[in-house]
Symmetry: C2
Subunit: 98 residues, 2 copies
């Protein structure tokens, strides 16, 4: 559990309880117009994942930043990382300790 | 010019030169899933504006953050601010000194 970070939030739905783990991802790549939108589109629209925070900076043609996301399980996390790496320009997505 | 901030970048296109002013916007509102994507969608897809950085944090149902954008002129900036304020949940968009 500790590898998921210290913060866990719980959401009670009609028939089941869902646990979300605060997860830190570092992301880096080649900057181009709209890259932040593509990243948030994958997170929010394709996977419906809630964000605690997003910080992205561009400098010298490179962008890098950190995403803090509430993720249900490592299976979803692995799929998300693969999908983020498929975005044109993204060359690094690393899970970090919180 | 000083009100546009210190940093100006120049892009040479086929027939004209375009000047972009680094502009700082503070944004705040009620957090909901996908808010960061909606904000970046307006900036990147609707207005084609380049971002230097985006920092958004959510806490206690509120999100707030700072956007550093390369914007051509105050006319476009005013339209952008109006559009950002039209996003559901956004209640504050303020231009800040850089």
């Amino acid at each position: 559990m500790s590898s998921h970070g210290d913060e866990i939030i719980e959401a009670t739905w009609t028939k089941s309880k869902m646990l979300y783990y605060l997860t830190h991802l570092y992301i880096r790549g080649f900057d181009h117009q709209g890259i932040a939108n593509k990243i948030t589109n994958v997170i929010s629209n394709e996977y419906g994942i809630n964000m605690r925070s997003i910080n992205l900076d561009a400098h010298d043609g490179i962008f890098e930043g950190n995403l803090y996301l509430y993720i249900q399980n490592t299976d979803l996390l692995e799929k998300l990382i693969t999908k983020l790496l498929n975005i044109k320009g993204v060359d690094t997505v690393q899970r970090k300790e919180i």
